[in-house]
Every structure is written in C-alpha cells, then in structure tokens.
C-alpha cells in the first residue's frame, strides 16, 4: 500500500519516518552495490580511475571491489571479451549470488567495438548473459560509469518485490545458471545463448 506523499512529508516533519517494505528493501540494495574486482582491458583502467579520489565511487556505496564473485553484486564488463575469455566470464557470472547486475562498459563489451572484425573477439557479452546497463564510449569516461551507476540505482529502486517485473532472485522460475559456451575447433559453441540474445533486426 502506497503512502500519500503529502502525509509522508508531514509525518517526516514530526520525526516519524514512514516507508514501504519495498522502498526500504530497494534503498538498502541500491546503496551498497559491491562490484566485482574484474578488469578485462582498457576500460578497466578507467574503472580504477573512477574509484580513485577524483571521481570517488564511494559516494554511491560501490567502492568495495570484491575479488570473489560470491561476494559481489555487480559485474562491470570492462573491456573486450575475447572468445578465449568468454567461457570464464559466463562462469564468473554464474558464480555470483542473486541479486546480481551487469554493466557492459564500453564499445567492446557491447558489440566488439573497434575489434568487431577480429576472429577471436566476442561480439557483445549480451550474447551469453543478460546485461542491465550499456555504456558507450571507447573507453567511457569515469563520469559515464558514474552515470551508469545512477541508472542502475534507479533501476533497482523501481523494481517491485512481487508480481510481474520482480527481480530474478524473487522469481523461482527465472534461470539462475547460464550455459557456459565451449571452445570448439573454429569458434565458440554455441555462438550465442538463444534465451538471452536474439539476432538484432538491422533497419536499412
């Protein structure tokens, strides 16, 4: 049940704080998103720069970089995912506990970027795992990563706890594991996870 906004402000003046369970729960979740300490390529340096004094990611409650996927809430795919690395990225994602989020940082993680024509470059990590936020740029500036954090926080804030659109960890039917691609003789097998990714329609 939603509380009337005016009443809420009025009660707040009296020192009574009223909220819903959903708001409280999401406020807690969004304010301590711990990223995984996981850098792939060029963007990782900008990711580190974001955590340093000038940009100060700590303002968003996300400065605690965890080396272990078990303790992390969010994975920043910071750089080119190669076909040799892709199975490990999916495996790391599988090892993370729900709720978990993915930010695809930079052109390479989104689509292969400038290296798209390479034989060993995966054309976007969203072929294997669901991505929540994409940030363009090569590499994106630290400000762009902060913007992505804020977008993710808004996304978490808006998630209902029940019904349609509830997050994966509250949905018993949602898939928890994503198949890890195998390294074949010429390419990754399968080339994409059909449940996650569909062939984009290019409008000409």
């Amino acid at each position: 049940m939603a509380v009337d906004e005016g009443l809420k402000i009025e009660l707040g003046k009296q020192g009574v704080f009223v909220t819903t369970l959903q708001e409280l729960y999401n406020w807690g979740r969004r304010s301590s998103v711990w990223p995984m300490n996981f850098g792939l390529a060029c963007c990782a340096i900008e990711m580190i720069a974001t955590t340093m004094a000038r940009y100060d990611l700590a303002r968003f409650g996300a400065e605690v970089f965890r080396p272990s996927p078990r303790q992390a809430d969010m994975m920043i795919i910071s750089g080119t995912v190669t076909k040799k690395m892709a199975p490990q990225v999916v495996r790391l994602y599988n090892q993370m506990a729900e709720p978990r989020y993915v930010i695809a940082m930079g052109a390479c993680a989104i689509s292969g970027g400038p290296f798209k024509q390479g034989y060993n470059v995966l054309k976007g990590i969203d072929r294997y795992i669901p991505v929540d936020i994409h940030i363009p740029g090569c590499p994106p500036r630290p400000e762009a990563l902060l913007e992505a954090f804020m977008a993710l926080q808004k996304k978490i804030d808006a998630q209902p706890l029940t019904g349609e659109g509830r997050p994966r960890h509250l949905d018993a039917d949602a898939p928890g594991e994503f198949p890890v691609p195998a390294q074949g003789e010429h390419d990754l097998e399968p080339a994409a996870n059909k449940n996650v990714w569909t062939v984009p329609v290019v409008i000409r």
Binding site: K83, K84, S111, G112, K116, Q117, G118, Y119, N120, K123, Q183, G184, E185, H186, D187, A191, V199, P200, V202, R204
Partner: protein
Amino acid sequence: MKTLEEIQAAIEAAVPGAGVEIVPNPAPSGEHSLRLKPETAVEVATFLRDDGELALDYLSNVTGVDWPDKEIAEKVKVTRAVTKTVDGVEQTAEETVEETRKRVEPGFLEVVYHLFSMARSHGPVVLRMRTGNRSDRVDLPSLTPVWRSAEFQEREIFDLYGVVFKGHPDLRRILMWDGFKDHPMRRDYVAPDDFEYEPTPHDEVLARAQAHRAAQQAAAAAQEGTGQ
C-alpha cells in the same frame, strides 16, 4: 658495424656451406636481410651471437609472414610451326603468336628475425627463413636454444601461422585455445561469420553483408524446415 656483405663473408668463413643470401630491401629504411638455409640456421645463429665483433646477443623481434600461392599471368611470344595449304600445296611456315600463360608460384611461410647487439649497441641484422610450402613442409629449426627471447614469439608463429619449429622446448598454442584448429593469421583464413554488418557505402563490406544475410536466411529456413 660490418656491412651485410662482410657479415655474409664472415658467416661463410665460419660455417662452410652456409649458403646465406642477401635479400635487398628497396625501402628508404635500407634494412637488407640475410636469408638462411634452414639446415645451417642454428649454426649460423650461434656464430652471429658468439662472434666477438658482431656479438648479436639480443634477438628483438620474430615475425611470421604468409606468402600464399601467387598466380602469375605472363604474356609469352611463342613461335611454332604451322602447316598451311597455299594454292593446293602444303607448306610449313613459322608463326609467332602471343599467348597468356598462367603459372603458379608456390607459396611459403617466412620467419623474420631482427637482431641487435646490446654489448656493442648496433643493429639491426635481419635474418629470414622460408618453409618449403604452406601445407606439409612447414618445419623450420627453432632458434630458441640460441636466444631465449624467441620462445614465446615462435610459439605465437606456430599458433597463428602453423610453422613447426623443430627443437623448440615447448611448442604449444599460445594465443588461441588448445582445441583450435585453424591458423588465423594466414591470408586465406576465413573468420567465423558471426556479426551483423552496419549499413555501409564500402562495396566490399556491402557484398560481405549481403552474403551474410543470405546465409542467415538460409539457416533460418533450414531450421523452420526441421522444426515442422
């Protein structure tokens, strides 16, 4: 530093029958190179490293180069005897015809070594070696026993070009995964067709994009056929 001719003479004196050829380089850089015979390469390399005056103790760079089979069309003037019937009498006359002949120059894989001297601060001396062909005679002697720095670079050439270095201590794929079968840096390697092309004005890319779309539609049609 000695000139390349002097180095060649020194090698011939130290390793009889080395058969080192000078490969000229027409670029302004003027870095001419020496082509070694694979049979004597290790001996020559050891000499270059240990010779007091050359002291090429530092192998900087090892490069693989792929030279695929080249089809060369040449116009050749051919003179041949032609029998003609003139006024009921058979005559033999010589006639010159211009013919286009195609010959295939067999391809090969090449490995290029750039040597410098740290002790005497000179260089580079460029060495090259060729394989017999691109398919079954692809082995060359490894120079890793002479210079350690060749170790990973030769593994890379083995991985990406398929040159087998005999005498290499640990010849495995280095950049691609172990089950990978192709040699992607070869010029005839076809990469997996796995991305959508952007609309582009370049003809070559457009042609590839159209081929890609046709292949995808065929695959989709085949899948529908099996599904029903």
